[in-house]
Amino acid sequence: MRRRVVPYLLLLPGTAWLLLFFVVPLYYMAELSLNSGVVGELEFNWNWDNYSEALSLYDTQFIRSFIYAGVATVAALLLAYPLAYTIAFKAGKWRNALLFAVVAPFFTTYLIRTLAWETILFDESPVTEILDALGMAPEGHVLATSGAVIAGLTYNFLPFMILPIYASLERIDVRLIEASKDLYASAAQSFWRVTLPLSAPGVVAGTLLTFIPAVGDYVNAQFLGGVGNRMIGNVIQSLYLTQSNYPAAAALSFLLMALIMVAVFVYIRFAGSEALMGEEAV
């Protein structure tokens, strides 16, 4: 009898904290999103208009956020895979040094990393001049373009892509790859038919860990983008914190969450679910 209570006792503090400060707040936000009126005289009256207005007023920012995050995720995947592959199979004694390089950006503050990109892409910087010479910087600017925001997003979430892919590649039984070669698969065939499918859980986890924070981000758009690059996070932030238009902001947050859930659900159905829930214990 005592043993059956133990797990619940162990779970109690954490579960209570998550319920009270994560689940309950979502409920409060849902309620707030159906309010009407301004601060001080907010009234709950099932005001669904907040949602339709949010969609019609800010549809550009919504679409832009999903496009930026999508492009950044694909870019991060293309950058992450070769590095993760190298660390897992080719690094030898360099493995720990390379893993350190992957997590090193986390040791500097997120905002400062983004500001570093502002420095790198500043109008007269060498990088901007090179890009200008290549015709990739219209009118000599890189900052305040979609490219700058997407580059910032790609950079900031890249380690979240590399680490899960590395973890799943590292777990692959090398004998499977050897077997495919013994059976006369070319290097390319063995990669596409054995290595890549076996690393799929890592790719799925990595894309989710990159895409989800990227959609909601507003720091990169704030520092690296211009007025024309504002994402949905910027809108929510300014509605909440400067305009105090809470019902509209709450409705937008909920829509964002719902759209992400739908996107994730579709993606998981498509790509398999084992990666999201992590390894099942016991």
Binding site: G14, S125, I212, A281
Partner: protein
């Protein structure tokens, strides 16, 4: 038949394409850190630290000379330490329950832990702010920041400690019990020291997440200013070079802590591999009786 020089170079490139690409990605990861480092020695003439003007050590000497910035840093450190301690304890207990016990509602508990990690920060920040505003019992400030930071750290602690527990050789615990240890003794002398590196890693991750958090703090800070919030506020009027200096100090500090964690991990692995025929007690933590 001999290859021409060009063909050979081409073949070499093709063979090493993956490694070369990886090297470029590493460069891409590290360049901004180098930029932060070099610009901490910059001597900007105006308010903006965006172009290189000249070398100076002045800002390293004055690292803690800007009162507002130092206060923000102290607030961040306090917050991170408290949030880390609470989240690590609470999260470790949860991980123990999830790995060691089979009980009704386990899947639901797992789900509750995954879902905050799958929610964008802006939504979490906005939801918490809505909650605090409507409830009205908490005044926005240090306490609401602490609540928020513990909340988003818990899941990560659970994930890290859980993976350590899954790879745990339970024979070691059985051996302890066979040798007459009570379950509390077994936990204190065997289980806990062995999962300690995992707990330490989880604590470091919490600390890093907390000290780095901007978005959720931005929503729930009231008038309290943390280090990232200071940077955000200062960005409009020009960021002092001292911010780069402090960022680098934090960077080196974290690297040292990581080194320590790796060393701890190695020690625990050594300890787990001790067998009776080897020198008893080698690598055991101080105070633990040698297994005989």
């Amino acid at each position: 038949m001999r290859e021409s020089g060009g063909a050979r170079a081409w073949r070499w490139l093709r063979e090493h394409a993956v490694v070369i690409a990886a090297g470029l990605v590493v460069l891409y990861l590290l360049i901004p850190i180098a930029v932060i480092f070099f610009f901490s020695f910059n001597d900007p003439q105006g308010r903006y630290n965006f172009t290189w003007q000249g070398f100076t050590l002045e800002h390293w000497g004055n690292a803690f000379g800007i009162e507002e910035l130092t206060d923000a840093l102290i607030t961040s450190l306090k917050l991170a330490v408290l949030a880390t301690v609470i989240a690590t304890i609470v999260g470790t207990l949860m991980a123990l329950a999830l790995v060691r016990h089979n009980f009704f509602g386990r899947r639901l508990a797992n789900f509750l832990i995954v879902i905050p990690m799958a929610t964008p920060e802006v939504v979490m920040g906005a939801a918490l702010l809505s909650f605090f505003l409507i409830l009205g019992t908490f005044s926005l400030g240090f306490q609401t920041l602490l609540i928020a930071h513990v909340m988003f750290c818990i899941s990560f602690v659970v994930v890290v400690v859980r993976s350590r527990l899954i790879g745990f050789d339970r024979n070691l615990e059985e051996a302890a019990r066979d040798l007459g240890a009570t379950s509390l003794q077994t936990f204190r002398l065997v289980t806990f020291p062995l999962i300690l590196p995992g707990i330490f890693g989880a604590a470091m991750l919490s600390f890093a997440l907390s000290i780095d958090d901007f978005v959720i703090s931005n929503f729930n800070s009231g008038t309290t200013v943390t280090f990232p919030l200071y940077i955000f506020g200062a960005a409009q009027r020009g960021i002092p070079v001292e911010v780069n200096v402090i960022a680098m100090i934090l960077f080196f500090f974290t690297v040292a802590a990581m080194g320590f964690a790796t060393w701890q991990q190695r020690r625990a692995e050594k300890m787990a591999s001790v067998r009776p025929e080897q020198e008893a007690g080698a690598g055991m933590p101080a105070g633990a009786p040698a297994a005989t």
